[in-house]
Amino acid sequence: MEQEEIQGKIFEYMQQMKGKKKLKEKDIIKKISADTGEEKDTVKKALRAMIDVGKLMYSYGGGASSVEIPSEEYLKEKGLI
């Protein structure tokens, strides 16, 4: 599977879970790896590439780190929109 396609699956899952559960990086990798049959490392690389360009972001709350879809405010601050 192309990286872009994996990233599409990741984003879809993130949208689906938004507001329902805080997802750790590992939760996402496990889920998408199981769904697509891709190696965990491959999924991790795809996920990291999304974080590097601000398509997703690391977040912190409730005493733990998670991954989220960035807010408009974040994207503005990073000069991405």
Partner: protein, 356 residues
């Protein structure tokens, strides 16, 4: 002006570029050291080379202006080489012996606190407090300042039976080695947190919040989509507040500090030890916390008068017994002193032999 290009995952600067030439040359080949005064020591290498260290205290919270002043002194006396200790002291690394005394003289003239080496009170390890932390239930810097002002001569001059490591933590998260210090102050809550149901429902994951409680005092409340707290089980640790901020643990009127004693880190003579409860509570009393300072001075004085040379506070207390500690210090023994959390089996007395 355009910004330079960012780099990622380069890690810290390599320490080697910051080492004085004499340290680079004798790295791993030191033979012995000698404490020359409360604030100076010399390390001698197998080659015969020497490096002199001059130590001064710091409030840890340092302005860039003060760091520059420290840098100026380092350049004047030790080619710009300096380091910090794990207890936040500043150490000037002097390669030229003839510059040690002039450096110490200038430091003293400029009101730096030269000392902290050997069997003394070193700098207090402490946390952020009201200066910068959301979970602080006391200020740390202020208590440290009040204690160190009072114990100043134990940093700069007076000897004790051994080192006395003091720490201050502004909540039970303990971002410092409070749980293994000779004497430590730890801020504690005493009231069950107040639950803001509406915001808990909005902001918090209920299963995570329930799981955060070490005493299983938290249950989900399906009616409010929030949680309820069993008041009989709550020990006010505040972990739920960390996980779910609308569970408000702060109570300015009833928060305060406890004093714990007898912990240590090193394995010298006896194993590392946790600190144990000496005084369960003092009200927050800014700006100088006088009762806390007096209580610490009292414990320190009783230790200094009774411990054998080289005994740490915890070793002395274990030798004479905790019942003796309470008698000698005049500290009241209360229900709070008896463990009812995780250490009861280890801490209740199971022998008919003890002191009155």
């Amino acid at each position: 002006m355009s910004l330079p290009e960012r780099k990622t995952d380069i890690g810290p600067p390599h320490y080697e570029q910051f080492l004085p030439p004499v340290i680079k040359k004798n790295y791993g080949k030191w033979k012995y050291h000698e404490v020359l005064s409360p604030g100076t020591m010399v390390h001698v290498a197998e080659s015969g080379d020497e490096i002199y260290t001059v130590r001064v205290g710091s409030p840890r919270l340092l302005s860039t202006a003060s760091i520059r002043e420290i840098c100026d002194l380092a350049e004047k006396y030790c080619d710009g080489y300096l380091r910090f200790t794990t207890r936040n002291n500043i150490e000037f690394l002097v390669s030229d012996k003839s510059k040690v005394d002039p450096l110490v003289a200038e430091l003293k003239e400029k009101k730096y606190s030269v000392g902290g080496i050997g069997p003394r009170v070193s700098n207090i390890i402490h946390t952020q407090g009201w200066v910068h932390c959301h979970s602080a239930c006391t200020d740390a810097s202020g208590i440290v300042k009040a204690i160190m002002d009072d114990l100043y001569e134990y940093f700069t001059e007076k000897e004790l039976p051994n080192k006395v490591r003091i720490a201050v933590a502004c909540c039970v998260n303990m971002c410092g080695a409070v749980h293994c210090s000779d004497i430590a102050v730890v801020a504690v809550h005493r009231k069950v947190p107040v639950v803001d149901d509406e915001n808990v429902a909005k902001m918090c994951e209920i299963p995570t919040t329930v799981a955060s409680c070490p005493t299983s005092a938290i249950r989900p409340n399906p009616k409010t989509k929030s949680i309820t707290i069993n008041e009989e089980k709550c020990m006010y640790c505040g972990n739920c507040f960390t996980v779910c901020p609308p569970i408000q643990i702060h109570n300015p009127e009833e928060d305060g500090v406890a004093i714990v004693v007898g912990g240590k880190i090193g394995s010298l003579r006896t194993s590392p030890k946790f600190s144990k409860l000496a005084i369960p509570f003092f009200y927050n009393d800014p700006p100088r916390w006088p009762k806390v300072v007096d209580a610490i001075k009292n414990i320190l004085n009783v230790y200094a008068a009774n411990a054998k040379k080289h005994e740490r506070v915890g070793e002395w207390v274990e030798r004479v017994g905790w019942e003796e500690f309470f008698k000698l210090t005049g500290i009241d023994f209360t229900f709070q002193h008896i463990d009812d959390f995780t250490f009861m089996r280890d801490t209740m007395r199971t022998s008919a032999a003890f002191k009155f």
